[in-house]
């Protein structure tokens, strides 16, 4: 039986690759002090610069700390080489949060290996990651999509910051600013989540419940995070979090489940919490499930609201990623529509979607066989029937 409650679970935050290490390094507040943090990368320089005390150089004997060169195979091999150390690092944790940027070599290749190592040690494995921006090009997007398919196999819960959704709100940001914004969004949400686990949670979130939501809906949590201070800060932070384009920007109409984390300093009042919760609850469709956690963080002088939003249970293709076609105007107005993947990526993405949707449908159940034939495999495939376009 996994031990999977966030309070007072032994949570470990692990940054994987450049983005992951930087985000974990940016973790603020009490959780930065009280949580165990681990940075792992194939690049020794990035490890040194991230400011995390506990570090692990992946594939030190073959890669010699020179990075993965954007190649997820190298990232994966390096991590596999270091799998023993990974397992040892995770051994005491009941929850391991692996943070990465999808699209790069180490982030994409090593993340599944890290998650698997966490799971093998009996930990609940959470993946939190950013997706590549459209302007980063098709190659990185394809790498991210492929990596995403593999993540599903190894993560108990996945939450993503969609870079292309993010860019809608910032319009003309420079490339550097864009990367930094994506990392801030991830680190803000991570801070929110981890506060619930830092031992100061007044009201914990049952991770087993989160995992169940995720497993049943098979989707992906979208992340939104906002902070506010001064009078009416609870309401202000909740509203800002709801407005975020990262969760679609038009509230929670399509949400099937929402996990809310509210973190405040010593002066956190019940009014702050209840007002913020009211705002979120009102935005939520009646059918959606809501889980809430509240935590105190001495080092915080404001109220932070983090939303993890699971969208459209069952109605959506499972395992979708929000990525944009490179070269397309990234901030195209979408009206009520949420950003979706475009036709150029459809075939590949749908393949991934179909495979995973299919597998999920029967996950945990016994394979149905008759006369040595696997009846769970589509009959048309076993009979070799061709599908006309």
């Amino acid at each position: 039986m996994k031990k999977a409650s966030l309070t007072p679970a032994r949570v470990m935050v692990a940054g994987v690759g450049g983005v992951g290490c930087r985000v974990v390094g940016k973790l603020r507040g009490a959780s930065a002090v009280s949580l165990r943090r681990l940075a792992m990368d194939t690049d020794s320089r990035s490890l040194e610069e991230c400011g995390v005390a506990e570090r692990l150089l992946l594939g030190s004997s073959t890669g010699r700390g020179a990075g993965a060169g954007g190649d997820p195979v190298r990232g994966r091999n390096a991590a596999s080489e270091t799998a023993e150390e990974l397992r040892a690092a995770f051994v005491d944790a009941s929850v391991v949060v692996c943070v990465a940027g999808l699209g790069g070599g180490t982030g994409t290749g090593a993340l599944p290996v890290a998650l698997r190592a966490a799971r093998e040690g009996g930990s609940l494995a959470l993946a939190m990651f950013t997706t590549p921006f459209g302007f980063e090009g098709r190659r990185r997007r394809d790498i991210a999509l492929n990596g995403f398919g593999e993540l599903r196999e190894h993560a108990d819960v996945m939450a993503a910051v969609s870079s292309d959704r993010l860019i809608e709100s910032v319009g003309n940001a420079s490339v550097e600013e864009s990367f930094s914004l994506a990392e801030d969004a991830l680190s803000g949400a991570l801070t929110g989540m981890c506060s619930l686990a830092s031992g100061r949670a007044l009201f914990g979130v049952d991770m087993e419940n989160v995992r169940r939501l995720f497993r049943e809906n098979g989707g992906l949590f979208a992340i939104s995070h906002a902070e506010s201070s001064g009078p009416g800060r609870g309401v202000a932070a909740a509203r800002a979090a709801l407005r975020s384009p990262l969760i679609g920007g038009d509230g929670l109409g399509a949400a099937s489940a929402v996990l809310v984390s509210i973190v405040g300093g010593r002066d956190l009042r019940i009014g702050d919490v209840s007002e913020a919760m009211d705002v979120v609850a009102q935005a939520l469709p009646e059918s959606a499930e809501m889980s809430m956690g509240i935590a105190m963080d001495d080092q915080l002088d404001r109220v932070a609201v983090t939303l993890l939003v699971l969208e459209g249970a069952g109605e959506q293709p499972q395992g979708r990623l929000h990525t944009d076609e490179p070269g397309q105007p990234a901030a195209a107005p979408q009206g009520d529509e949420k950003p979706r993947r475009r036709s150029g990526t459809k075939a590949r993405d749908d393949k991934l979607t179909a495979d995973h949707a299919g597998r999920d449908r029967f996950r945990g159940s016994e394979m149905t066989t008759f006369d040595g034939e696997d009846l769970d495999t589509p009959t048309y495939q076993r009979k070799g029937i061709r599908i006309a376009d």
């Binding site: 109605e315 979607t353 179909a354 589509p378 048309y380 029937i385 599908i387």
Partner: protein
């Protein structure tokens, strides 16, 4: 008489029906609760906590509509682990005297003494017929004469843990499970007529995760079991073949059915666009072929597993389909072809009260209610059931 409550935690939905018996003996459905199931795959409850939510929601609805405080329920179970085999018990009668009720009880005990794999449990032992001196088949041997009395029964059994799984969420809600009935048998009670049973009939309850099959010949249950192939398989095949979402596949399935489109029918079907993606169409012939080969295979496996040719020859009233999957267009055509028998889709008979309960999806629960009222009498059959379930479900 107290109301009877039936619960079925299906792969797709969790259904609760409340039945009350009127003075003229007819059963009135006074309460109904339905919730989308969670944590159920292929007819089996895999995640008790998730199932708990759907069960409590359905129970609450049923309590509200019926104004009945639900404390005890009858539960329908399904799952590919449920199988059956016939067994014969023999008793030598001293001196060829008159057969007494004690003899009948004794031969019943002998017939029921079967050994199963340690992880398995008997769900039902169903009496088929008595044979006196290996030649005369009778229904009621009491008072007759002979040197030997034999009883044939059908033993329906399943894996203990999996049978217990739907009981747990109910227990957590403080609800007592009176007994557990194989869903196929429950559906048969609601759907089949005595005439069909004596002519010989195959009942197939097509669910989201399983197909339950029950065969009657000469009025008794000759074979029963479940195959873990259901509507979810059809949906998933479409998802994989046409790269759609599950919701889109469900709609394509409903629009297409499993028979090839005739002349004049649209050659392409539209995939509803629920994700903001451009609308697209799929080839209608390919779609129906994907569904048809799956459905046909399912019926063929059901025939191989549960309807040996010797039984099939004794089936005169054809194949009756029920359950949500029976709504799929052309199912009767494919089933008729595979079993080489006439085939019809049937709804439960004679439902009074809540009209929505008169749907093929509700067959098992309606049958359970009928069984529940029958079971409150103290016939020999009911005590045997109680004995079996006593050990299993009242811990």
């Amino acid at each position: 008489m107290d109301p009877v409550v039936a619960v079925e935690i299906g792969t797709t939905k969790t259904l609760v029906l409340v039945g009350e018996r009127k003075e003229d003996g007819r059963v009135l459905i006074t309460g109904m609760g339905m919730a989308e199931s969670a944590g159920v795959r292929k007819g089996e409850v895999l995640d008790i906590d998730s199932a708990n939510l759907s069960v409590s929601s359905a129970i609450k609805q049923a309590e509200e509509t019926s104004s009945v405080d639900i404390g005890t329920v009858h539960v329908a179970v399904s799952g590919g682990h449920i199988e059956s085999f016939p067994n014969r018990g023999k008793l030598s009668l001293a001196g060829g005297g008159e057969i007494t009720p004690e003899d009948v009880e004794q031969v019943t005990e002998i017939a029921q003494a079967v050994s199963l794999a340690p992880d398995r449990e008997i769900i039902h032992t169903i009496r088929q017929s008595f044979t006196i001196d290996e030649s005369h088949r009778v229904e009621r041997p009491e008072g007759m004469h002979g040197a030997q009395l034999a009883l044939d029964i059908l033993v329906v059994h399943g894996v203990r843990n999996r049978l217990m799984a739907p009981v747990k969420p109910l227990k957590q809600l403080g609800i007592e499970v009176l007994d557990v009935v194989f869903g196929g048998l429950a559906s048969a009670m609601a759907v089949l007529t005595p005439e069909q049973k004596s002519s010989g009939v195959i009942l197939i309850d097509l669910g989201g995760g399983t197909a339950d099959c029950v065969v009657y010949v000469d009025g008794y249950v000759a074979s029963a079991g479940s195959l873990a192939v259901g509507g979810d398989h059809v949906t998933r095949d479409i998802v994989i073949a046409f790269k759609t979402s599950i919701a889109q596949a469900e709609r394509l399935k409903r629009d297409s059915g499993c028979v090839r489109p005739g002349r004049g029918a649209p050659q392409r079907l539209t995939v509803t666009s629920d994700t903001g993606m451009p609308e697209r169409t799929v080839d209608a012939v390919s779609l129906s072929a994907v569904i048809e080969v799956r459905v046909e295979e399912m019926f063929r496996v059901l025939r191989s597993k549960f309807v040996p040719d010797a039984l099939l020859r004794r089936v005169g009233a054809g194949v009756i389909l029920t359950g949500g999957g029976a709504r799929l267009g052309g199912m009767d055509v494919v089933a008729g072809r595979v079993f080489e028998l006439p085939c019809a889709v049937a709804r439960p008979r004679e439902v009074d009260g809540i009209a929505a309960a008169d749907a093929p999806e509700c067959s098992a629960c309606l049958g359970l209610i009928e069984h529940g009222f029958r079971d409150t009498g103290s016939g020999p059959r009911s005590s045997a059931w109680k004995k079996i379930f006593g050990s299993l479900f009242t811990r």
